[in-house]
Amino acid sequence: MARLLFTRLALFVPTLFAASIVLFIAINVVPGSAARSALGVDATPQAIMRFEALNGLNRPLVVQYTDWLGKALHGDLGTSFQNRVPVAPEIVRRLPTTLELALLAFLIANAIALPLGALAALRRGKRADFAISALATVLGAIPNFWLATLLVLVFSLHLKILPAGGYTPFFESPWKNFTQMVLPALSLGLVSSALLLRIMRTTMLDVLNSDYVRTAHAKGAPERIVVMRHALRNALIPYLTVGAVEFGFLFGGVVIIEDIFRLPGIGSLVLVGIINRDYPVLLGSALVVTFIVLTANMLVDTCAALLDPRQLRPREAGR
């Protein structure tokens, strides 16, 4: 088990570095764009040169990156172009909001996807299966930002039972925090559940058609035991492996959802960075969002491996 965790970690660290390089390149695809967009289109060449010199943007990209990386490793993500405020503390301040939103969305998505996906597989071809598959198709086609809008229309403006936005830290007022988090978490979680539901249905179907499930039936195990003891754990392994990647894909939704509900998280910081053309802010916040996604992927993937004895204790050679 220690070896398994070690190899995962050994793969994870270079991935993070590579991710930071990709983001750095993505932001600097067009050379010189940082200064121009920060200062506006009608900035004089002198102003641009002064700005680039001030922020070290006139150096080669490789130097800029290693410099940035070196500082980042010491917890310094640079200072905002806009107001000269250090980026890292701002991100730390906003981190709990995003993590809370992500965790709630994750719980909602799985709470829907796991039971319904399994049920659809068990009732394959029956009415329940078609109803659940239809639900997944509909949920999968709803844009999360439209769902957020609809939820606000219904629950905030029409029924007036949940706030349309705002944020109160959890430790200040857990209940208020909860009411403010429900709609954002639902917007993100419901949409994510569609894809996870399909994955669960497919993996569960595969498992239910497997020879070992037939063996369980041949032993005279009742349906409940076949599912709980023999099918579920085996279905969970591919579900987690595939689901981890897909969820990260959908996690980008925090950028929009936090903006809609005026949640002061990292997702909305990404947007601030873009709107102000504030590259240090954008790079830092985008990197942290990516970091969260990659970490979540790694954790979920490791959980899947821990569930699988074939990965946990590989067959010793020479037997």
Binding site: A26, W146, L250
Partner: protein
Amino acid sequence: MSAFADYSIRRHGLLTLGGVIVAAVIISAIFAPWVAPYSPYDLDVTLMLEGPSRAHWLGTDEVGRDVLSRTIFAAQISVKVALFAVAVGLIGGTIIGMLAAYCGGPVDTVLMRLMELLFSFPAILLAVVLMASLGTNVLNAMLAIGIIFIPGFARLARASTLSAMQQQYVEAARSIGMSHSRIILRELLPNVVTPLLVEAAVAFAYAVLLESALSFLGLGAQPPDPSWGNMLNTGRGFMAQAPWLSIVPGLALFLCVLGFNLLGDGLRDVLDPHLRD
């Protein structure tokens, strides 16, 4: 007997439904100037935020423009962006994927590791970051979304190429010394096209979604050009007085994505029978 009939009717029914929706979206995009009752740009300040009426079936927006007309014209931008983005992803991904499979070895490893890495990024985040440096306009939105699609297509193209390469006739072509470009174009490409086309339909839906998301954030189509995304963004300011501004474009977007998803799933069922349950 009846179980089979039920199954295929239901499957083909959904495929047909998807096809009809997609056709409707594409037709309204192409023929928008003739289909739409008004110009999407004509203001009428005397008719600001009017609810649905006989003259304006789906109401008017904050400067008195016809919501139905703007929604129809918005399909133009969505289809255009999605088409271009999918083309970028499809071509880029196919080249990278086939190259990786055909060369194998370190080329394969490096290319696919890179694709894997890109794939693990949250899509919207990557698009948003790319838009920041490319500049916010429709053309760059197409490009950014297209780049996001490359890894998905590359993975698929690689897998299909690898399986095609194991076919006997490809081995035969190699052994008789056919040139690399001939093998790739004549023998491999035809085998890779079908799965890629199915993926393209699904990617199309996702491209429409991403374009709307970018426009919603103000990074895609810029006002006054109508896009479902920027219409929804505007609508947020008037949710209490004019809820239709938040409902109509969203519904159009939802139907469009649904149509392409159904089409993609249906095509996958028809073309890839072994994936059927």
